[in-house]
Amino acid sequence: MTGGPVEKQAASFVQAAPIAPRPAPVTDRGILGWIHANLFSSWFNALLTLIGLYLIYEIASLVIDWAILRAVWSGDNREACLSTDPNLPAGACWAFVRAKFPQWIYGLYPTDERWRVNLVFILGAVGLVPMMIPRMPFKRANAIYLLAIFPVITLILLGGGNFDIDATRWIWLATMLGLALLVILLLSKGADIIEFAPAFRAWIIAAICLVLLYFVLGANFGLTHVETSLWGGLTVTLVVAITGMVASLPLGILLALGRRSHLPVVRLFSVIFIELWRGVPLITVLFMASVMLPLFMPEGASVDKLLRALIGVALFTAAYMAEVIRGGLQAIPKGQYEAAEALGLGYWRKMQLIILPQALRIVIPGIVNSFISLFKDTTLVSIIGIFDLLGILHAGLADANWSTPQTAATGYFAVALIFWLFCFSISRYSMFIERRLGAGSNR
């Protein structure tokens, strides 16, 4: 410690000040370093990079050449999209897409009434956008609007309202509800199976809603009636996808609960239902809905073709939804069930207050995935003769006015792009939600 001379001596050959750090070699830093590390780290990687670049160049030049450089942008009929030079075939026929685009959105919906479809789109967006932004308040009211009020408005706007509802059936339904209420109240009298007041309130609300629905659906709003066979294009695609989703969610929850029930008969029926639908392809389900459902109906009763497809899609999706939700139910620790029971909650209150809120939150990504596959699967309704986006595209392709060698390719390209935009944005949104939900548990 006290070696002054030694220090002095050492100073002559020992570095007194630290050497300033030199920058890393040029091949290891900046953009060059990144390229070296990620694209050319070995001869094999370099080869792969070159092959990849070549592949991208080939595909990009092909697509750009066809879709932009050689494309025909405007025209009134097939003449515009035919190449005059035999050595230079025409590219994409965008004129066809421009001519048919209104049909792709509205189908064969009467031109004068298309504002109704637009209004539905706007009302849907008004409900959906605040629902998707996590920071927005009034989520509960928003959800009620989106899941209960909006579908009714859509039904009235698209169909024209003034539905001919058989009042006797309605009265029958109301009587059954009243009977159910009576039975439950008698059963729970004096015991704590169900709390009297909330159950009573729920029934009152249900009754009021039913009466309201009856009057609203039967009311005349002065809108002309539009057959569902005239609905088409993106409108029908969205109607099928969203109805399938909204209808399958509650059914899926019930089936998932049924499959995990302790009652053997309930479990057996749930398993049979789920596995039956999951085991067969959707197209056979749709055939079944379109061919067999009329056979199941009592004599004289007929069900609309679109509604039949909707029933098929909803039941099919419900089975998949049940399996997704079951995954969430299984992920809830047993302690949560036991704690709920220890608090004295009955089965339904335990599920409603403790288990389902947690389980559903876990499976939101799975639900969104089901929705994406449902959205893609809506194209199958075109096989049973419903003019969804793909069906209306085929109707347009059959138009002799537009029959050119490039029409089909252009139409498929454009429709694929529309589907891709929808599905890709939904999947990105699901990833965003997943990260947001994970933020709590990953802390």
């Binding site: 670049l53 059963l187 009652l263 392809p281 056979l295 599905c423």
Partner: protein
């Protein structure tokens, strides 16, 4: 004596029967059973009434009557005078053919793309991502139409076919390739092939014993390849296997001879494989990523080679995660092959649909479809259960 009877909870009549959870369970189940039975009875009753009104006889006897329609691809002898039952079997075999071949191609593409996504090469990883994100977000039905109507049906007419080495021809009627016709020796060659496989399995067992005893590993790959490929070659030489090729020849407006791969098949095959591969790629990526890096490092620390590490350490653990969802994708692919009906490939749904339209036997045909697909599903889930049980970690809590 009166203390107990005065406690309010035990007053007789207050504790009713339905407060007993078991009794309530039985009640609820009886109620459900009654509702389902009533629903089923209603449906059956309506169906019988409706069928009687339309004069449609129920039952499967129609399967014996003459079909009267042609099928463009048949794996077993079939003609218009064959029965409906045979037409259904033809469709079933076509489904199995396209599903089986697509499963192979989808697995190959899926593994390649999945590994591409894990590549340290940024560009390759991005290409893999782009493939997955583009393909899986476009409806399969649309992709099938693209392949069928925009690619394969847009091929030139037979007279302007694209010739590949003057032996194979591609046109809008499909792909025509030479068809090999084997001579007498083929049975011996096949027998030698089977024998080769058997011998190589025996040799593998022997080689493992040698390795366990001495620590040195005999060359297994070379020996197996030699046995499996070499033996049939030798047999072919000895028997003088005469292979002749049946070439497709243009006659009139179309090709005759050779093997014709119809565009409907090709479109379905490519569409299904490419679509499912995107999902398989994600499964493979998740599976490989689920093996922790420590496993690889530990294997390296033990002195295992890169390839041995992959084969003995990483893959077995990754496969445990990969196989169940993979089997699910195979099942999805098989179910999706029913979209054949949209492009006119005669699979089980398409031929069944024709039968349905001709006979009106909706209930019977749909029940046959359901039987076919349900048994495929049950087979797959049975395999998955067996596999999960085999691969489950010993001592791990069963889920």
């Amino acid at each position: 004596m009166s203390a107990a009877s005065e406690r309010p909870g035990l007053r007789s009549g207050h504790f009713r029967l339905w407060h007993n959870p078991q009794v309530r369970g039985v009640l609820i189940q009886a109620l459900l059973l009654a509702v389902v039975a009533w629903f089923a009875w209603e449906i059956i009753d309506n169906t019988i009434t409706n069928l009687r009104q339309r004069h449609i006889a129920s039952g499967y006897r129609f399967l014996d009557s003459t079909a009267g329609f042609g099928i463009i691809q048949t794996l077993i002898p079939y003609s218009e005078v064959s029965s409906y039952g045979r037409a259904f079997i033809v469709g079933l075999l076509n489904t199995i053919l396209v599903a089986g071949l697509s499963i192979v191609l989808a697995t190959v593409i899926g593994f390649i793309v999945g590994i591409m996504r894990l590549s340290s090469n940024w560009l390759i990883a991005k290409i893999g991502t782009a493939y997955v994100e583009i393909i899986r977000n476009i409806p399969l039905l649309l992709q099938l139409f693209v392949w069928y109507r925009a690619v394969l049906k847009a091929m030139p007419a037979p007279r302007q076919s694209i010739a590949i080495a003057d032996a194979a021809f591609l046109n809008n009627r499909g792909l025509y390739v030479p068809y090999p016709i084997f001579g007498q020796g083929i049975t011996w060659v096949m027998a030698a092939f089977a024998g080769g496989i058997l011998l190589s399995v025996l040799y593998g067992t022997h080689a493992r014993r040698v390795q366990e005893r001495t620590g040195r590993m005999p060359p297994r790959l070379a020996a197996s390849l030699g046995l499996i490929l070499g033996l049939p070659l030798v047999a072919a030489f000895i028997t003088g296997l005469g292979v002749s090729l049946d070439y497709p020849v243009l006659q009139g407006f179309n090709f005759v001879g050779g093997l014709n791969v119809i565009p409907e098949f090709t479109a379905l095959f490519l569409g299904l494989s490419i679509y499912t591969a995107a999902f398989i790629a994600e499964i493979v990526r998740a599976g490989v990523q689920s093996v922790s890096k420590g496993q690889t490092e530990a294997a390296h620390a033990l002195g295992l080679h890169e390839s041995t590490t992959l084969r003995l350490i990483v893959l077995p653990q990754a496969l445990r995660v990969i196989i169940p969802p993979l089997a699910n994708q195979y099942l999805n692919l098989t179910k999706n092959s029913s979209l054949a009906v949209a492009i006119g490939y005669p699979d089980v749904v398409a031929t069944g649909g024709t039968i349905l339209n001709q006979t009106g036997q909706a209930v019977e045909v749909i029940s046959l479809w359901m039987a076919v697909y349900l048994s495929l599903s049950l087979l797959t889930s049975g395999f998955m259960n067996w596999f999960n049980a085999r691969m489950a970690l010993k001592g791990a809590p069963s889920l």
